[in-house]
Symmetry: C2
Subunit: 483 residues, 2 copies
């Protein structure tokens, strides 16, 4: 009998090395428990699985923004625009927006492959949205529409990483898309640590130190990833800090990869979102000074349209021959999905005051964002009220990243079970309460510290019960392992 032609030990080792905890072991176990709840109701100490592992708002009951969905439905089935009934079913501005969008698509063909960067008219709308957000010009030729932000990140890693001596500076903790993508493309993740004690501050001195360390080991550091607002930290960078980062990238010749997918998710009055492009331009830096990529997605914000897989990258500061290579890689996959492209244009150009939908749109948007702010605060307070847990403020994004000060006995029990202590804790939490969180080890953390990432997304009316379930579990966990 011949050995199987394909086995784990003859797969691409880069694939084997890649890890993605957000949908890793804990989540697979949760899916099993969910099936058990269906086939054997009452067999577990809870009656539903609560997925707090992933920023997936609509899976937890968040409703889509009506205007966006009206436009999508009309673009999917344009004959509706010729029917009288449509006027009573759809808002007037959704009808006119769909008409405008269809007119910008050659042949009104929403079922055709588009230009590999995306439909020109939609890129124009996005560029106008960026310009109005930043107060600096933006160019449709710089926009590459993508199926969510992830394919854009992969594309840039594929472009920049030649071998294991090419490094990418990434925050620790980081969103594991970055570690996974660097592993898949065979590069080196060069970590820089966010400072938990200053609210996950980014310190240029640490950046410099890590860069020099990596260079001394022969690593060619090519780019710096910044996630702002932060995932998993929930931190929003101060403008001053952003200026320092821009200057650092310029001085060190690094590409700045700016993950800005949470740009609409800010929950505190003393912070606001500034794009890195705006910061760079405000410092007088132009295209010649800094290669910069800004990633945006339709999955986050108040819209949370994860399943539509829409997003874009805005690419500035690259030479024409490099841009041709980016275009070529984009063209191998033909184009991103048109529904996602349309949605990306809507997100960057939503209804304005005076539009028929504006009042209801604004009520939906404000309702979601204000509720998210309240949920973040309630969960943060709850975590901080528990023995052995400290939790920084969630200024933005969709997550809390509390630190667990675990008793020595719990750490030993985890070791005996061959788990990281935070994975051990998260598994126990799941099995006791049905709450799914991601262990901090999936994001990276200062060695010897333990965290979990928990989203702020469960529906608001469920939060008090979740807090109670969590508190009961945590107290019994601490009681069981108290030193």
């Amino acid at each position: 009998m011949a050995a199987p032609s394909v086995a784990v030990d003859n797969l691409n080792p880069k694939v084997l090395k890649c890890e993605y905890a957000v949908r890793g072991e804990i989540v697979i176990h949760a899916q099993r428990l969910q099936q058990q709840l269906q086939t054997q109701p009452g067999s577990l100490p809870f009656d539903e699985i609560l997925y707090c592992n992933i920023g997936n708002p609509q899976s937890l009951g968040q409703q889509p923004v009506t205007f966006f969905r009206e436009v999508l439905a009309l673009c999917d089935h344009p004959c509706l625009l010729d029917r009288a009934e449509t006027k009573s079913l759809f808002s007037a501005d959704a009808i006119s927006r769909a008409t405008t969008i269809l007119a910008s698509i050659p042949g009104r063909a929403t079922g055709a492959y588009s230009h590999s960067q995306g439909i020109k008219g939609l890129r124009d709308a996005i560029a106008a949205g960026i310009a109005s957000r930043d107060g600096y010009p933006a160019n449709a030729d710089d926009i590459f529409l993508t199926d969510g932000a992830s394919p854009g990140v992969h594309m840039m890693m594929q472009l920049l990483i030649r071998n294991e001596k090419d490094g990418i500076l990434c925050p620790i903790p980081q969103y594991p898309l970055y570690s996974a993508s660097i592993a898949l493309h065979g590069g080196a993740l060069v970590p820089y640590y966010l400072n938990e004690s200053t609210g996950w501050g980014l310190e240029i001195s640490d950046l410099k130190k890590q860069l020099e360390d990596a260079r001394s080991k022969g690593i060619d550091v090519r780019a710096l990833v910044v996630i702002n607002p932060g995932n998993p930290t929930g931190q929003v960078l101060a403008e001053e800090n952003q200026r320092d980062i821009v200057k650092f990238c310029k001085n060190e010749g690094l590409v700045l990869l700016a993950d800005e997918v949470y740009q609409e998710n800010i929950y505190v009055d003393n912070k606001k979102f500034n794009s890195f492009k705006k910061i760079a331009r405000s410092m007088g830096y132009n295209e010649d000074d800094l290669p910069l990529v800004s990633f945006q997605s339709v999955s986050k914000g108040y819209y949370g349209e994860c399943g539509k897989r829409g997003g874009y990258m805005e690419i500035t500061g690259f030479s024409a021959p490099v841009r041709e290579q980016i275009y070529k890689v984009a063209s191998v996959n033909l184009c991103s999905n048109i529904t996602g492209q349309i949605l990306a244009s809507l997100v960057m150009n939503p209804p304005k005051a005076g539009d028929a939908s504006y009042a209801s749109y604004k009520a939906e948007k404000d309702g979601i964002l204000q509720s998210l702010a309240r949920r973040a605060k309630a969960l943060e307070d709850a975590f901080n009220n528990l023995e052995g847990i400290t939790c920084n403020k969630t200024e933005g994004a969709m997550y809390l990243f509390p630190q667990l000060l675990l008793p020595r006995k719990a750490i030993e029990a985890a070791k005996a079970a061959n788990k990281a202590p935070d994975a051990f804790y998260a598994l126990r939490l799941l099995e006791s309460t049905g709450i799914v969180v991601v262990p901090g080890s999936g994001f990276g953390q200062v060695p010897g510290t333990w965290h979990i990432r928990c989203t702020i997304l469960p529906q608001e009316e469920k939060i008090p019960a979740i807090i109670t379930r969590f508190k009961t579990f945590h107290e019994s966990f601490m009681a069981a392992y108290r030193d």
Copy 2:
């Protein structure tokens, strides 16, 4: 002044090596000419660019299937289902299908990330469609929904290719997604030649020879790509030939990567589509005998929904640990877009006799497929009537791949212009007529032969004028370069 941190000479060399002619130089030139037509009408010897370079039916005026779009619109904006007007705007079976689909999505949330393989209920529908097509069982757990077929192909290449000593057997000519993807992942394309003189027949003896050649050079050949119906050849494999291929893969321990995206596109009575899985099962081979991946897409067939980016791969014959790795890679990108997922389920489970939409659905489907058959025949005849062109029959898919017997003087002129002779011809054709085709060199061909790939997709009423334009150009080209 420091050197730019990112320049072509410090990009990933695999990216530089990758080529994708379907959207390459000729197409970029065509886009420039199209802009010129807009800014300076009358400045070129034609008044429109006719894109015959890519299988993109709706860009050339093909209308989407009404039932599919009705269901998509209802799933995008489910509140429509609660309104009385909807009954007069949508067919009854589209309403009931959308209701069923929404019920299969947790929380009816079409805006949520799904399971990384795709929504379970949709995978069930697809598996049922495969089982009814093949007469052999199919399993929803084997289905991975993807954003079109291309990301599935990339995923398999990423899994199988470790380094430049891992080879993938590919037909020549081939669809350049394969050569591009192998280049991007750093593997070796091991060519096998389709025999033009037997209607692009696939000969096992040539497969064996190429495999042994590659092995003698130290290449570990891991998989065989077969495109059936063929792209760019338009050939449909005979059942006997498929059996030989299956036996060959089993005996040689190769993964069979079956590109079956044109399974609905068959234009001749004496051929029918057989999936490789059906063939393998009919030979008594089961999962233990053969690792097999079947790629399907919503972009082709009679539906042609390229812009929706839907598709799936059906993966059988891989061990559980290998499947876990495939799942992990899929999970890093979270999921494919839900609109494409829904469409993939519709394509594999269209209206049936007795459904309210069946008659109109069938009329639309038959109308498109019969017209494509007539267009293929008309273009094939036209090519064969030209001096120095021979063209095999298009039995399936969406392309003609005629051979150009170019005069020596034309070949010299091409050389002087630093172009491959077929690229030179295609460029002249574009500049004289506005017709965009892809040179055979983009697909691979027997050295010293020259071809072009031309789609059969221009609307039927335009075909006579296209033939006239083509004939006029070709005659003057031949006259100019006659030896």
